[in-house]
């Protein structure tokens, strides 16, 4: 496997969405390519940073209340 193909696979690897064969091929490449190893780490970080840094807001209280009310009245 060349570095280009490895880079493409990294994204799906992080999400646990590679086939067994692809996983094997990628890890084989990673063991012998320090540059791709470092890139793989960066790719992992990018995912983490999105999850951690994007602020999750709570739905406004009035919205929650209105939905609970709505599903208790219909019928």
């Amino acid at each position: 496997m060349n570095c280009n193909k490895a880079t493409v696979l990294m994204s799906a690897a992080i999400d646990g969405e590679l086939s067994a064969k692809e996983t094997e091929e990628l890890s084989e490449h990673l063991t012998e390519c320090p540059q791709c190893r470092s890139e793989f780490q960066d790719a992992k970080n990018t995912k983490i940073i999105i999850r951690e840094r994007i602020v999750r807001v709570k739905a406004p209280k009035n919205l929650v209340e209105s939905i609970v009310r709505m599903t208790s009245v219909i019928g």
Partner: protein, 198 residues
């Protein structure tokens, strides 16, 4: 009339209880998704409200045992398309200042992680990451949100965005590549070293 209402109630009560257990807990995720789509808190509220109304109405068609959150997201997305795209109405006249203020308020409330890390990744704040994400073309932004923030599988995302799994996979790859470039650019501007060599 009262009798008729009472006759309905056993079934309705069961439905309500199940709905409140299965669907209502996802309200925060839906609201966040709606906010990202519309970039306008009022539109986001309307969208979530309409989504729940529709979901409740068609709750019988929800396949039990499947991911209810994914089902709700799909309804919300369809609603969004019908509401904003069909009428060619701009999603909420994107009010960047308002959304910025909105997130500012929330950011203050959020406890900051006190990591000793000094690399650029850890130095990035919500606003920078948010802006970088928002600057991506929608097709990329959407799959990143659904995957990284909401934790959906490729199959669930493919179903939501009505594209093959391979397309989701390649959009994620390309979107992340763009995002990373934006983040690095941002970090460089602020004097952080983005070299990956350890």
């Amino acid at each position: 009339m009262k009798e008729k209402k009472k006759a309905l109630s056993a079934y309705e009560e069961l439905k309500q209880r199940e709905f409140q257990k299965e669907a209502v807990p996802h309200i925060n995720s839906l609201y966040n998704y709606a906010l990202h789509l519309t970039m306008n808190p009022d539109d986001a509220e309307d969208l979530v409200q309409e989504t729940y109304l529709k979901a409740y109405k068609f709750f019988d068609s929800f396949e039990r045992g499947t991911n209810c959150k994914a089902w709700l997201f799909k309804i919300l997305k369809n609603n969004y398309i019908n509401k904003f795209r069909k009428n060619a109405r701009e999603p909420g006249k994107v009010d960047y200042d308002l959304i910025k203020d909105f997130y500012h308020t929330i950011k203050d409330v959020q406890s900051d992680t006190t990591e000793a890390e000094s690399d650029f990744f850890h130095s990035l704040l919500h606003e920078e990451v948010y802006q970088a994400l928002q600057s991506l073309p929608e097709e990329f932004r959407e799959v990143i949100q659904l995957c990284d923030m909401e934790g959906f599988t490729y199959e669930e995302i493919a179903n939501m965005v009505e594209s093959p799994i391979g397309t989701v996979r390649s959009r994620l790859y390309r979107g992340r590549k763009l995002l990373r470039a934006k983040l690095e650019e941002y970090a460089r501007k602020h004097g952080y070293n983005t070299d990956t060599d350890e």
